[in-house]
Amino acid sequence: MAEGTNYLTETRGLKSWLFTVDHKRIGVMYFWSIMTALFLGGVFAMLVRIELLTPRQTIMSAETYNRMFTLHGAVMVFLVLIPSIAATLGNFVLPLMLGAKDVAFPRLNLASYWIYVAGALFGLYSMIAGGIETGWTFYTPYSTSAGGGVTPMVLAAFILGFSSIFTGINFIATIHKLRAPGLTWFKMPLFVWGMYATSIIQVLATPILGITLILLLMERMFQIGIFDARLGGDPLLFQHFFWFYSHPVVYIMILPGMAIMSEVIPVFSRKTIFGYKAIAFSSIAIAVVGFFVWGHHMFVSGQSPLAGAIFSFLTFLVAIPSAIKVFNWLATMYKGSISLEAPMLYAISFLLLFAIGGLTGLFLGSIATDVHLHDTYFVVAHFHFVMFGGTVIAFLAGIHYWWPKMFGRMYSEKWARVSAVLVFVGFNLTFIPQFIMGSRGMPRRYYNYLPQFQPMHVASTIGSWVLGLGFLIMAGYLFASLRKPYDAPSNPWGGATLEWETASPPITHNFETTPAVTHGPYDYAALRSDA
């Protein structure tokens, strides 16, 4: 329990937050901003689902519907999933885990946050600047000819890229240079390895998106002749450029989720992580191989059969390191002393949902089945299983795991479990029907559909309400916990990584003295003998 001041109370007033260079405060500001974006993106999704209750118009016009799913996709991808774990929990926890006082470039960190806010405002401005109906992928030629809101939304994605790059640069330099004495590479928590792999992709992939979006804007405004076939350009070049970033970006989203799994599962199994090095290297392998699979988004685009076959093979290859991780987590749980607090409930949800998401990815990575499933609800369900069932569920696991450290309070465990179950049930009810519909030919993004799909659309929409209820309850008990006095012990779960050695919440400089690393990150036996 915290005595005296901590990073939350040391200075007060709005300015002390807006101009802070403390990684913990920046993490917290990111957290509330991203939660706001998650709420907005969730509302857009609920509206889309309500519209799809009937095969015809239900509550909105076709144009509004197109804008809704575009906003849902763009907000969730650019404002939530890409920064989510790294910018919030990563910012907060990474320096603590390294025994450092801050990230390497604290002011760059603050700049990254403000750039995020600026990008978010641009994105929302697109709503009143005429709206955007291209989907979050901004495919040409529609995006070079469609009106109004495309320009601000594309600019928003461009601006947000800088925010992401700055976080990546900061984390890499921090991990290289600011580890506590004795904290060698293979004594680092696996969360740090996951952040390292994520940062590599952020640094190497994001600039490609930047230049692609600039070229798109130039084509829109000046008709420079790069993506528009009438001007001698090539619309497929846009797809190549776009996916060269946007496939690696799904690993920017999922690697931090995997990183959280590697912390939560051993702590709540009371057992050392199984296969430390295999998990560490598989993160790097995913980061590297992930750069060479972008063509699997374009199997039906007319690319050469040879290219298709190579991309298909590489897609299967990138599944291997993910599977290595899953098997290692299962081996960690095997014969462990498993306790089912909220973070672990989410971790188990992750294992189940991510396994389905990953395996259905192989259906789409095989050329023959992809021709059938391309652009159907099967694809929608697949990436929601990975992005929500993977990244968001892991994010929730991480939030519940580090909440006592971040805010110094324990939340209601009972309600947290209720909410975890509702989220799991609601999610499956929403997306399993979409797998079935998709395999039967329901195309994605359609406003109207054949009456035979209605029962499954209704089930999916009801699922979205259960999911929404789960989040509502979560917001309730998390806010309620903030009204209590500080009651979290410094190490409520019995973790062995360094962030649990300082107070909850930590002091501004993180540690009273730079911690000496005397045991491994998953060495729970040493922890018991210390106590």
Binding site: D102, V103, A104, F105, P106, F222
Partner: protein, 215 residues
């Protein structure tokens, strides 16, 4: 930024030693340079593809560029890279007057580069050799030359923005040099701005043959 003690006035609080701070800064700058190369990389790929599909137009269009001015600018930037190296060396060896002089000289060369670029751009504007829909040059025998000028202006424009950014950075370092901030114990900003300036130079080394020397 908190300054801990009089001995190391520029050591930030979260670093243990000046060496650690220097090396962290260096890693950060190299990573930033990687992102810059990838940013330009997208333009290079686009240029390569469009040129390979439209070789006649690109070859014809590039005759409108003045090779002598392009070559002069190449030499100017190369020399400015050299003066930048000398500035870093002066900082490392505690010769503050030389540091100020070489930084100022680098600025002069950067200014000359932009001056020549201005002459070239005005000529293109006058002739209607402009990107995309603004292209209005009369009497072309080969169609599609606007595409070359789209890339010419995007590539040299983005490079020009980087030159402007470099000028800003050098001015900042120059001001701090005059104030006597740098010595052999602390010259990180000079070193990092130097790295950035070399990259801007390096990119031009690729732009010059791609745009001016198509055969």
């Amino acid at each position: 930024m908190s300054r801990t003690d009089a001995g190391e006035p520029f050591l930030q609080h979260h670093f243990a030693t000046p060496e650690q701070q220097f090396e962290a800064g260096k890693i950060g700058m190299w990573l930033f340079l990687v992102t810059e190369i990838l940013l330009f990389g997208g333009l290079f790929v686009g240029y390569g593809l469009m040129r390979s599909r439209n070789p006649a137009a690109f070859s014809e269009a590039h005759h409108h560029l003045d090779r002598i001015l392009g070559l002069t600018n190449t030499v100017v930037l190369l020399v400015s890279s050299f003066t930048m190296v000398m500035a870093v060396h002066a900082a490392r060896t505690d010769r503050r007057k030389r540091l100020v002089a070489f930084l100022a000289l680098t600025l002069v060369f950067a200014g000359v580069f932009l001056g020549i670029k201005y002459i070239e751009y005005s000529h293109k504007f006058h002739e209607g050799l402009l990107p995309g829909k603004f292209y209005s040059h009369k009497g072309d025998t080969v169609p599609g030359q606007f595409q070359f000028f789209s890339f010419y202006f995007m590539m040299t424009g983005l490079h020009g923005i980087h030159i402007l950014g470099g000028i800003g950075a050098i001015l900042w370092v120059l001001r701090r040099s005059v104030q006597g901030h740098f010595s052999s114990r602390y010259y990180t900003p000079v070193d990092l701005v130097g790295l950035y300036w070399h990259l801007v130079d390096l990119i031009w080394i690729y732009l010059f043959p791609l745009l001016y020397l198509i055969s």
